[in-house]
Amino acid sequence: MELEEEVPKQNYSEKEKGEIFNQEFLPHINSMYNFGYRLTLDRDDAKDLVQDTYLKAYRFVESFQKGTNAKAWLFRILKNSFINDYRKKSKEPAKVDYQEVETYYNSEEVDRQITPDLRVESLKDMIGDEISNALNSLDVDFKTVIILCDLEGFKYEEMAKILDIPIGTVRSRLHRARNLLKEKLSEYAKSMGYNKA
């Protein structure tokens, strides 16, 4: 995958620009909108964010190399717009502390114990909005990795570039994000009486 800083400026004609936009950028609009919505939790804000992303993509189309991973490039722009514009506006609290996360590989036993008690059977009962709500309720950094990996199928290397973090951090953040999601769902399960232990 190539991102803007590594690629020499391309020289596209107006016609080529339009083709790239229509054929490589626009087909991702549903994924982009879903990502925008999950980040902002507001349909109008999501629209603005996606619109803004596409305008930027068009403006900087010469930094995009035809035939490379357009989807990753767009996701990166959207995520940066969200952090730089939207997040500032809404004055979200500072990022969570990841210190504890980095040590998790050395504490497998501990981790197994704190992994929430959630069963496959309880999951299968969650046919409404439980999963979606649980995902939405996670901190932005955690829901982002789940969206990129589980919904959009990005690989570690692509995620690392989209998010500007090392691959090791992608891994540990995903691991933590999944456990948080399970925790949320096991709370739901408990409150709904699914876990009859």
């Binding site: 909108y33 879903n34 197994r112 969206i147 570690y156």
Partner: protein, 88 residues
């Protein structure tokens, strides 16, 4: 297990933990060889077997419940209009 050719082994020959193997599988990062190895591993590792089942179900549920469908129908038109305005 004393399998000398664990395909999950790291360059420094360190033995990967169950959790690391499981995550590689879950995140869609595993090679064919690694998937085969893990399948066999699950036959004799109950924690992996159980976690795999739960984590895979969760991943599938997330996919089916959180994809969100289509963007609003007027969004593409709006974007195109804005671009035309700017480039004219």
């Amino acid at each position: 297990m004393n399998n000398p050719t664990n395909p999950f082994a790291k360059p420094d020959q360190q033995k990967p933990t169950c959790m690391e193997m499981l995550q590689t599988i879950l995140d869609g990062q595993a090679t064919e060889e690694q998937r085969k190895y893990f399948k066999m591993h699950m036959d004799h590792c109950m924690p992996c077997y159980k976690s795999y089942d739960l984590d895979m179900s969760l991943k599938q549920l997330v996919q089916s419940k959180c994809c969100g469908g289509a963007a609003p129908s007027d969004l593409i038109e709006k974007i195109k209009q804005q671009i035309e305005q700017k480039s004219s």
